[in-house]
Symmetry: C2
Subunit: 250 residues, 2 copies
């Protein structure tokens, strides 16, 4: 389904590397399937592998005292799962769950650490990605605090769309409620609102986006800002090489 010559590096983070770095890196990767609801990494557990999704996407959830969880990040082909290794930590604070089935390049943690040490270009680029993730996390925190369910749902759908490269997702209101940290009923009502305006349609465990620009309008500005963050420090989404603005140091 990918349009590149080799089916491998359709992950944008890797695609932006120089040919040399990319080839050396990808040698130690295995393409693996991501199946829906698969847990790539449990929170508090050791990180054994890192993942670079090429299709599908992954949610990052933070645990709370009483077993409740809240989604605090989404990873698709623009990112990676396993960022703590970049900082010398091999335990994941977050749970990584596959939201949209697909494919990822996988590398074991030790090899990943080795590549980061040996190839400065890789380390640098992944550091930039980590920075963007942190910004998104802060943005999501504020969004979750201030914005109501409907805009947040719209934002979630758009973000997922961008990462899954698909207009249709197989998930239930119940699941969305879990992600957004709200009641299922709340999701149903918000979904009905979006449906009434012709932005989405849905039936039994499947949601389809009909009107992106409509969704963007009702979604809070957090969606747009999130995209801007990415472009600012990692360059244009589909552009080949890194072309970050002027915020890189030294």
């Amino acid at each position: 389904m990918t349009s590149s010559r080799h089916p491998l590096p359709a992950n944008r983070l890797l695609a932006a590397l120089s040919l040399r770095s990319r080839e050396r890196f990808v040698v130690d990767c295995d393409p693996v399937k991501l199946t829906f609801a698969e847990v790539l990494c449990e929170s508090g557990e050791r990180i054994n592998q890192v993942y670079f999704p090429t299709e599908g996407f992954v949610s990052l959830l933070t645990p709370l005292d009483d077993g409740a969880r809240l989604e605090v990040g989404i990873v698709g082909d623009e990112g990676m799962v396993g960022t703590p290794l970049l900082l010398g930590v091999n335990t994941s604070p977050l749970q990584a769950v596959v939201q949209g089935a697909g494919i990822a390049l996988r590398m074991n943690a030790a090899a990943f650490r080795k590549h980061c040490r040996q190839d400065d270009e890789i380390q640098k680029r992944l550091n930039l990605y980590l920075h963007v993730s942190i910004r998104q996390l802060a943005q999501t925190a504020a969004c979750t605090r201030y914005h109501s369910i409907e805009p947040r749902l719209a934002r979630w759908l758009l973000m997922s769309r961008d990462r899954a490269h698909a207009d249709q997702f197989h998930l239930t209101h119940e699941f969305l409620a879990y992600m957004l940290g709200v009641r299922r009923v709340g999701v149903t009502q918000a979904a009905r609102g979006l449906h009434a305006r012709g932005f989405i349609s849905y039936i039994r465990g499947s949601i389809t986006i009909l009107d992106n620009t409509g969704l963007e309008k009702v979604s809070c500005s957090c969606y747009r800002r999130g995209n801007e963050m990415y472009e600012q420090t990692l360059g244009k989404p589909r552009g080949g090489r890194a072309r970050a603005a002027g915020e890189l140091a030294s």
Copy 2:
């Protein structure tokens, strides 16, 4: 006011460095006063200096579309202001505002980058701090979503106490409301609740903590978890050298 031989490195992040690394590092630092409400760094602006508070503490705020802000982190003598530089980014996504007046060691950004490049021990330790910050950020996001004002207020007071090393703060309900992202009235009511149980007292712009353990009980578990995070990856709060658990990689 500090009890160390030299008044300089009472910042725990620096104190945990080896003598050699610390001395080389501190040479390029200047002790500066942190005055209340001073903005150390504006969000979106270039990071010109990094700060290692030794007394007082700093809030990190994320901006929202409509000019509203939300506190997403606190930095005291356990941390630093300017972490994006660690990732090769010289623009701060967050606004850093002095909450509790005090003192910090300041270094200009270029020198800081140089030290990080040249001294692996420093880079590594600061990376660990960054990791803890990220965890706290995720925790705060969930806390802000799920927990009500009173527990959050209790947590905020405890966190500030730990960082300011003082039981009394000069701030108004209005200001606390701004930090917590709620109405001033909400803070007043929560404060009254805590006062009624004898945990705090307050008068016109000054809050005093009377009973830590009481506060800990009403505060959500996020407070305790936050401390655990720090200890897990950076060692005991007041211990001299780094003694992290088993989550360090390689």
